[in-house]
């Protein structure tokens, strides 16, 4: 068990006394009439690996570009280490960015690319050479130093881009889809490497990604964005297990949603009458007034097969197996329930497939516990 102090060091956002390293204060960016970023506030702490997650066009890249100083916000301020940097142009911010396309200068060698930022700072030659060597070493690309970008593979380019953006020892590194241009196999390896690098250097990372798996694997915290707004900021676990709104619940992984109304409340549990007919008993973190319309979200893997069909039918659904998708480790079952809608359930394939109990057209009863889902109010 970590102590409270340890916990606060690992999770500084839990500590009310901790000062954020990067503060985004009510930032809005309008392009014409369109709000690309809509009144966003965020606190990011030193040493975090923070991800902005959302589908394309949700404003995550615009927000990142505002942090880099490449876009000027229509309203709001940006503070780094307590200093207002909103009016500081990109070329003087203590922030560096790794671009989605890597943006390696095609007319310069790997070495010259990495050296570029140091030259702008007018560092003496000896120091530049040393720093470049250090960066090339760190990313294991020393033997590529004389090559030009078009003579590099995708993975090598990514390393050069990373080396270049780290060369100036920024306090904050922005990464725009850092793994987006790599193929799947390479991406998985690089994920871990990136996290190791970040922990070793102690630099604060802010990344933008549309890949939820990537965000889940690498981040200390994730901000889920939609239509220019932040829907939820939390740890990967919390985002997955306890989404606070329907958008986040649906965006991350798969989920079964049941709409209904609160009919009873006892302790931290509520009883919800649903459209599918059967009542559901769920844990709720907030007290809810009777009659409140709510949505119950239950993840497919939290569902299980029931042995008996209880009389009150609480947290139970009857249905017929309609589709089975065999994925090897797990199988996904889609079950048609009473009101005609489909419920998705994943079961781990403990037994070889041939010996599995469930088959098409089979009548089943599904159930789940009051703590394995969340009650969403909107």
């Amino acid at each position: 068990m970590p102590t409270l102090a340890e916990n606060q060091r690992l999770e500084p956002w839990q500590d009310p006394r901790a000062a954020p390293y990067l503060r985004v204060d009510r930032v809005t960016k309008k392009f014409g009439d369109v709000y690309a970023v809509d009144d966003v506030s965020l606190d990011i702490f030193k040493g975090e690996f923070f991800s902005l997650l959302g589908s394309s066009g949700c404003g995550k890249s615009t927000l990142l570009r505002i942090l880099a100083g490449l876009e000027y916000p229509s309203a709001g301020r940006i503070y780094i280490d307590g200093v207002d940097v909103t009016d500081v142009p990109a070329y003087s911010r203590p922030v560096n960015m790794m671009f989605q396309s890597y943006a390696l200068f095609p007319h310069m060698s790997v070495e010259q690319n990495v050296e570029f930022g140091l030259k702008q700072d007018r560092l003496p030659r000896s120091e530049r050479v040393e720093r470049v060597g250090e960066m090339l070493d760190l990313l294991k690309i020393t033997e590529l130093r004389k090559r030009r970008p078009d003579q590099l593979s995708g993975g090598q380019r990514q390393r050069v881009a990373l080396a270049r953006s780290l060369a100036k020892h920024p306090k904050l590194l922005l990464l725009d889809e850092p793994l987006g241009a790599l193929d799947k196999r390479l991406r998985e390896n690089t994920q871990f490497e990136l996290v190791n690098l970040q922990e070793r250097l102690g630099i604060t990372f802010v990344t933008v990604t549309h890949d939820q798996e990537e965000a889940m694997t690498m981040s200390t915290r994730i901000a889920v964005m939609d239509a220019g707004q932040i829907m939820q900021v939390d740890t990967p676990t919390a985002i997955y297990e306890f989404p606070t709104c329907r958008f986040v619940a649906e965006f991350i992984g798969s989920v079964n949603l049941f709409e209904g109304k609160v009919v009873a409340a006892e302790g931290d549990e509520v009883l919800v009458e649903t459209r599918v007919g059967r009542p559901m008993r769920m844990r709720s973190f907030h007290p809810l007034v009777l009659g409140t319309p709510v949505t119950i979200a239950v993840r497919p893997e939290k569902m299980r097969l029931s042995q008996e069909d209880r009389e009150d039918g609480v947290n139970q659904l009857q249905g017929v197996v309609e589709d089975i998708a065999y994925l090897g480790d797990v199988s996904i079952y889609r079950v048609r329930i009473g009101d005609g809608s489909l419920v998705e359930m994943t079961l781990t394939n403990v037994q070889p497939r041939t010996e599995q109990a469930l088959t098409w057209e089979q009548e089943v009863v599904i159930e789940w516990s009051p703590t394995s889902g969340v009650v969403l109010t909107e």
């Binding site: 100083g69 207002d84 909103t86 009016d87 203590p94």
Partner: protein
């Protein structure tokens, strides 16, 4: 890393605007737009035996009165005299027919280049551009030696036994057409090529898959999609040809009087600057419509880009 004085990024934007837009705008305004105003002004003056050879449009007469004299004589002359009228009609006819000829020859060529294997394409395209870089005057001149009555073409045809006595081609309308098509063909091919290479070959396959035979695929897919290239190429040929001077002067004869040559003659031989200006104004007025058409299609072509 010290933070310098805060500055809004807008400041460099303003400077960039001022330099990048301001300087070329000023240049074009002064040396391209303003001259037309002066041409219009002088087209309303009368020729005079003076330096410069036209009457001033306005002058101060006594008591500080400003007297303005507008003279529409030049425009009336252009409208009434059959010489000018037929020169204009002939210019439009030559421009129209040679545009069509360029299209007939240029489209298949552009299509063939666009569908050629990648490596060959670069060479073929280079060969289209190369003549464009060599002197226009000299290329027109080359045709004199070929087309004249004891020239290479006639010698060749007689040698083949196709004709007995030499044909008269030089100093006829035919020679003008040959010269124009020859000189302006690259202008037709290049925009067509640019357009046709962007064409998604999958569309043709989809059309074929849906039961469209190759000819139908061409008529219903390729041709409509290359319309922007056709318009751009046609206007790049049509507009300058209307005012062409060198080709009708060197290759054309008395029957093929074109307005560009007429303007030249009025200006240099007859020293009638106001009349030359009036001809320029009428020509400009005629070219406005095709020019606007070209601009429209160009914007559409750019808008269609990903």
């Amino acid at each position: 890393m010290a933070l310098p004085q805060p500055s809004r990024p807008a400041a460099t934007q303003v400077l960039s605007r001022l330099v990048n837009i301001g300087i070329p705008y000023l240049w074009l305004g002064l040396f391209f737009l303003l001259p037309f105003v002066i041409v219009l002004q002088i087209s309303l003056a009368e020729p005079a035996l003076a330096q410069p050879p036209y009457t001033p449009l306005w002058q101060w007469i006594e008591d500080g009165l400003l007297q303005i004299q507008l003279n529409l004589q030049n425009f009336l002359l252009v409208g009434e005299d059959s010489l000018y009228l037929s020169a204009f009609l002939n210019s439009l006819q030559v421009a129209l027919i040679s545009t069509l000829l360029c299209l007939l020859l240029g489209y298949p060529m552009a299509y063939a280049i666009a569908t050629a294997p990648e490596r060959l394409r670069v060479v073929l395209l280079m060969l289209i551009i190369l003549p464009f870089w060599t002197s226009f005057l000299i290329r027109v001149y080359a045709w004199i030696g070929i087309l004249k009555s004891n020239g290479l073409l006639n010698d060749f045809l007689i040698w083949l036994g196709l004709i007995d006595s030499p044909l008269t081609i030089l100093h006829t309308q035919t020679a003008v057409y040959i010269g124009v098509v020859y000189s302006y063909l690259p202008f037709m091919i290049l925009p067509l090529y640019a357009n046709l290479t962007r064409l998604d070959h999958g569309l043709l396959e989809a059309a074929a898959d849906l039961g469209c035979r190759p000819f139908c695929g061409f008529m219903r897919v390729t041709l409509p999609l290359s319309m922007a290239g056709i318009v751009a190429g046609s206007m790049l040929v049509f507009i300058p040809v209307v005012g062409e001077f060198v080709i009708p002067d060197l290759l054309g004869g008395p029957q093929s009087l074109m307005v560009g040559k007429l303007l030249w003659t009025e200006f240099f031989s007859n020293k009638d600057w106001p009349l030359a200006s009036a001809l320029a104004i009428v020509m400009l007025a005629l070219l406005v419509i095709p020019f606007v058409m070209m601009q429209r299609w160009q914007q559409r072509m750019e808008g269609g880009r990903p």
